[in-house]
Structures are given as structure tokens and as C-alpha cells.
Symmetry: C2
Subunit: 331 residues, 2 copies
DNA sequence: CTGAAAGCGCTTACAG
DNA sequence: CTGAAAGCGCTTACAG
């Protein structure tokens, strides 16, 4: 019914079949200089014929390098990761590195286990696309292999380079846009207690105060009812800026469900430029992080560390506002 | 600035520090019976103190088993994968297997490269969550390690077990729902030429014919204009069933943009139960594949193969219709 | 240009 | 209950 579990051919089988020593096979396969073209060709042909595959375990063990980097994501369901991953993988591919991904499934504990597993596997370095791991865990990992994190840490790790977006500027751009089109009563829906969320909230508050306005903040955990109950009332909000697109989308959907006009009765801005925000009607105005660029930058930093650079860096990239239909002039 | 690249402690270091032989350390760490409690405790303490981590490369090489399974996904951006992954990982975790993910980024070529990489790394088996790889590639991989595929293959591979959903039943349920609520002029938007899409389309056509109706099909590549130009016209469609949620969502958004009422002027049904469909207003009626169950089932089959079972299996799980606001009675 | 030998860090019989 | 030895499949100086 299925194939016999024939043992995989090794370098020794290839050597025997080609009538050379096994070290010569090793050199030929790795494309080393000191092997005649004729010999190399013959060896490679034999290898192909035998269905030979270099055992990465043995190779990694012997060389102390695997040419693989690990990438840890806290939650695959969040489309943010796919874009960061694309950036990481594009750079890795271009520089001859393989990539494997570990998935935390939304749990710091699972993520940490995956981090250990991947480190045990001997990857040359790791990029952690998550702010879920604490500084201590990251530093412990960094004692084993170079580690770069993408995201905004709460407490900055000492031995880990960080790539993140400028949440302050992003939030400021969002609020400035709402102010520009005449809004004065703007509510922020805070997404979480993480560092990025906190920074967005603070920037919202500061921008509002700078404009001489009262910064109203509600917590996402309270639900959108608290906000929507006030819409249309005297003194009620005419716009809201949510800490992320998921919350913004919920607010938008709930507002439509209540029969409000968006943006007529309420303008809505999110953060992240998730695909579903673009598909909504009206489409969601949002702040876009340069996700792919962040991934590329992370790999650049990681490669430097792998190649011996001792410097840890912190790189902040600029987000940009994307204006769509969910925001409009204040009534 | 950063930690010295101190070489990682090995089993030999632990043995020396604990004053025992290295094989004893190996036995103690793996929790083998024949080691006294006192000795084991001492060895483990020393290992922890030294920051010892078992080198998975060496372990895998020596044992011929890594206790890791690989999971290949064609596109992380598609939220479908996160749920299948959750099922796979839940089972793997429960049975003591680690999981690493390879990402194809929408390209069959990249996916195949990742498959090879992961196989080279010595995983004990692979589940390919993608229909992008052809039967030959899958069979070649299966000659190396057990492989299970989740999805609907075009040509069935010979040595690979398959887990998929019943596209025929799913499509039938979607169409039956539209017929139930009085629709007679229903257009199908075909998503692709892949096997799953083709099955949905055929099932649509059959169900329509069985009801004595004319099955109209347009291609997603043509865009939604072709469909929407006819809505509201005499003889025009009152409902559409799209091959997947992405297309359904686009149709829904475009319809709203043209000022149509959904479902008043047009009912829309998708396939997949993607999150963004649920967030739309009106929320999308769709067919849900039992994604997590598919992942679990795939791992069950894979483990059987890893444990020596030679049988290849094909398992078809049943989808279910989720009715939401995007479908309503025909005018 | 080619081959014999040691070693990477583990595991696994096999003797004590 | 414990230790010495061979081996997993590769790479890397080192001699020829």
C-alpha cells in the first residue's frame, strides 16, 4: 500500500556508488572549489539518482550552524503577522537562510515553549514577532542565540534588538486627521494594557490636550455600548479612534447595526490596516504600520548579530495614515 | 554590550560537574528508570545550574526521531490556516510532539522548498495544509516521511492520507438555503480551478438543475461587475453563492457601494466562515468547514503513520451552513 | 585534486 | 545502579 521505509541514503552510499571517499562527496555537494568538474558532476548525478538528501541534523551538528532562522509569532489568526513574516522571509531567502515558524496560539506559555524548541533545534537566530514575552525570557534566549524582537516591549530587554513602529506618531496622525475635518468630541477606545496600546492612548490624550480638548477614553473591555449610547446626544462624540482595527471594526459594525450613519453620525479610525477593515463598507480609515519593512529590518539586524556584531539596536519605523470612507466632516 | 558567545554546555560538562559518566546524564535527563532518585536529582540540578539544553540536532541524529512534526501552509494571510493549525497543534501538544511551520507565501515553489527544508531537518512527519502541491511532489515527500494533506487534491496522491471537507454538501446546503427562502435566479461566482472550487461549482449546478433551474456561473476573475450589472433588472439574479468568503465579501461590498440593499436586492452566501465575513454588515451567510477538527484528524492519521501504520486514508468531514444577515427572502 | 581520521553532542546496547 | 564504547551523518583540517 505504501512505500517501504527504506533507510535514507547517506553520503557514504553516494561515495560507494560513485567510487570516491565520503569527504569528497561532502566537498562536491557543498560546491567546494577543489573538486574537478567531471568528478563533481558524476557525484551529483549519483546523488540525485540515489535520492540523496543532506541530513540537516548531521550537517548542523558538525558545522555548528544550520543556516536556518526561527520566527515566533504569537497568533497566526492575526493577519499582521503574515506581512511581517513576508518581510522576514524575503530577506532570509535573499541571503540563503531557511525559515521555520513557531506558533504561540495566543499564549505566552506556548510561545515560550516554541522558542525553546526552536532554539534547541539549533537555528542560527530568532526573530520574535510578539510583545508577549517578557524581557527576562527574551534575554535568556538571547544568551543562546541572537534574538531580535518585532513589536513594542513593555520593559526593554538588554540583549535583544527591537524593531517597532512609532505608535505616538501613528496615533497623532489619526487624531490630527479627525481634528482637521472638524471633530472636537473624540473618544479613544483603548485596546489593552500593552506598551503599544498605552503609547497610542497617551499620544491621543496629548494631542487632544494640545488642541485644548478633553480626551475621553473608554476601555475596549467595556464594549462599544458605552460609546454608542452617547452618539447623537448633545455633547456626545462625533468620532472615535480605536487602538486597533479589530476594535474599530466592531465599533463600526455596531454603529451601523444601531442605524447610525458612518461617518455622518460617527467617524471611526482604527490602527493596523487589517484587510477586513478595507473590505468593510464604509471602508475603515486606519494607521498602517510598515509591516513588511519591519520584518526586513529585523532580519537585517539579526544577520548582523549572527555575523558577530555585538551591538543591540532599537529601530523605530514610521506608520502612515490611510484615509477611507469611515471618516468624514463633523456634522 | 551583549553576552559573550560562551559555548553551550553539553552533557559532558554536566557529567563532569556532577561527577558521573555522560551516559548516566543522558539517562537521567530522559527520565530513564534505572537511575536512583538521588542521583537523578543531583544531575538535574547541576544541569539547570549550568543552563544546559539538550541539543536537538545531536539527539535527533542519534535517535533517528525528533519528536517534531512539520506543518506546511501555503499562505499565512488566509485565516483558514490558523484554525487548522490550532487543531494540529492541540493534538501534537497532547501527544508530546513539537510543531514547526513552513510558509509557502502563496507560491508552490516556495512551499516545496520549505517542505524539503523541513524534511531535511528530520521531522517525524509532515502535514501539508494546502492543495498547491501536486501529487508527485507529495509522493516524493512521502517516500521520506509520513505525509498527510489537509485540503482537496486535484489528483489524489498515492502515499499521502487526505483530510478534507465535503464541498459537495457544503455547496448544496448553501444553495438549498437560498431556494428555501424563495430564490430562483441564483448566480455562482467560481473562485478558481482547484479541486475544491470545482466541486463546489459542480454541486451548485447539480442542485440547481435538480430544482429545475438554470445554473448561471461567472468567474471571479471577471469581477463582480458582470453580476451586479444585472441585479434589479428583469430576469436578473436575486442571489449569489460565491466559491469563498473573500469573493463573497467583495461582491457584498461592491453591491452596497452601488446602493443595492443586501439582502433586499441581492442575497449573498460565501464559503469558509472567515472572520471578516462575520464582521461585515450585513454579516455574511457562509459555509463553515470544521477546520480545527480537520487539523486534529490530520494529526491522528499522521501519528498512526509515524507509529508504523501503512494504510493511507481519506477522511471527509462535514461542513455546516451558518445563516447570517446577508441572505433573506427573495423579493 | 583526493582520502583517512577526528569530532560535533547525543543515544544505545553491553559489561560490570 | 553505573561506565566505556560505538555509532548517528555530516564537516573539517591535515596529509598525501
Amino acid at each position: 500500500m505504501t512505500s517501504p521505509p527504506r533507510p535514507a541514503p547517506t553520503i557514504v552510499d553516494v561515495a560507494r556508488a560513485a567510487g570516491v571517499s565520503k569527504s569528497l562527496v561532502s566537498l562536491a555537494i557543498r560546491g567546494d572549489a577543489g573538486v574537478s568538474d567531471a568528478t563533481r558532476t558524476r557525484i551529483l548525478d549519483v546523488a540525485t539518482e540515489l535520492g540523496y538528501h543532506s541530513n540537516a541534523l548531521a550537517r548542523g551538528l558538525a558545522r555548528g550552524r544550520t543556516q536556518m532562522v526561527g520566527m515566533l509569532v504569537s497568533d497566526l489568526a492575526n493577519p499582521y503577522f503574515a506581512d511581517v513574516a513576508a518581510g522576514i522571509e524575503a530577506d532570509a531567502e535573499a541571503t540563503g537562510l531557511g525559515t521555520i515558524i513557531g506558533h504561540g496560539r495566543g499564549s505566552a506559555e506556548v510561545l515560550e515553549r516554541r522558542l525553546d524548541e526552536i532554539l534547541d533545534l539549533g537555528v542560527d537566530g530568532v526573530v520574535v514577532v510578539s510583545a508577549m514575552l517578557d524581557a527576562e525570557t527574551l534575554d535568556r534566549a538571547a544568551a543562546r542565540r541572537p534574538v531580535v524582537m518585532v513589536g513594542r516591549p513593555f520593559a526593554p530587554p538588554r540583549r535583544v534588538s527591537v524593531v517597532r513602529n512609532n505608535d505616538e506618531h501613528g496615533a497623532q496622525a489619526a487624531v490630527a486627521h479627525l481634528l482637521d475635518i472638524g471633530h472636537r468630541r473624540i473618544t479613544h477606545i483603548a485596546s489593552s494594557r500593552r506598551a503599544a496600546a498605552t503609547a497610542r492612548r497617551s499620544s491621543f490624550e496629548e494631542t487632544m490636550r494640545d488642541a485644548g480638548l478633553d480626551p475621553v477614553v473608554i476601555d475596549a473591555a467595556e464594549g462599544t455600548a458605552r460609546l454608542l449610547d452617547l452618539v447623537g446626544r448633545p455633547g456626545g462624540p462625533t468620532a472615535c479612534f480605536a487602538g486597533n482595527d479589530r476594535i474599530a471594526t466592531t465599533a463600526l459594525s455596531d454603529a451601523l447595526e444601531r442605524g447610525f450613519d458612518v461617518p455622518g453620525d460617527l467617524s471611526v479610525v482604527g490602527y493596523d490596516n487589517a484587510e477586513f477593515g478595507r473590505l468593510m463598507r464604509p471602508a475603515l480609515t486606519t494607521v498602517e504600520q510598515p509591516r513588511e519593512a519591519m520584518g526586513r529590518e529585523a532580519m537585517r539586524l539579526l544577520r548582523a548579530r549572527i555575523d558577530g556584531d555585538r551591538e543591540v539596536a532599537e529601530v523605530t519605523l514610521e506608520p502612515r495614515l490611510i484615509v477611507r470612507g469611515s471618516t468624514g466632516p463633523a456634522a
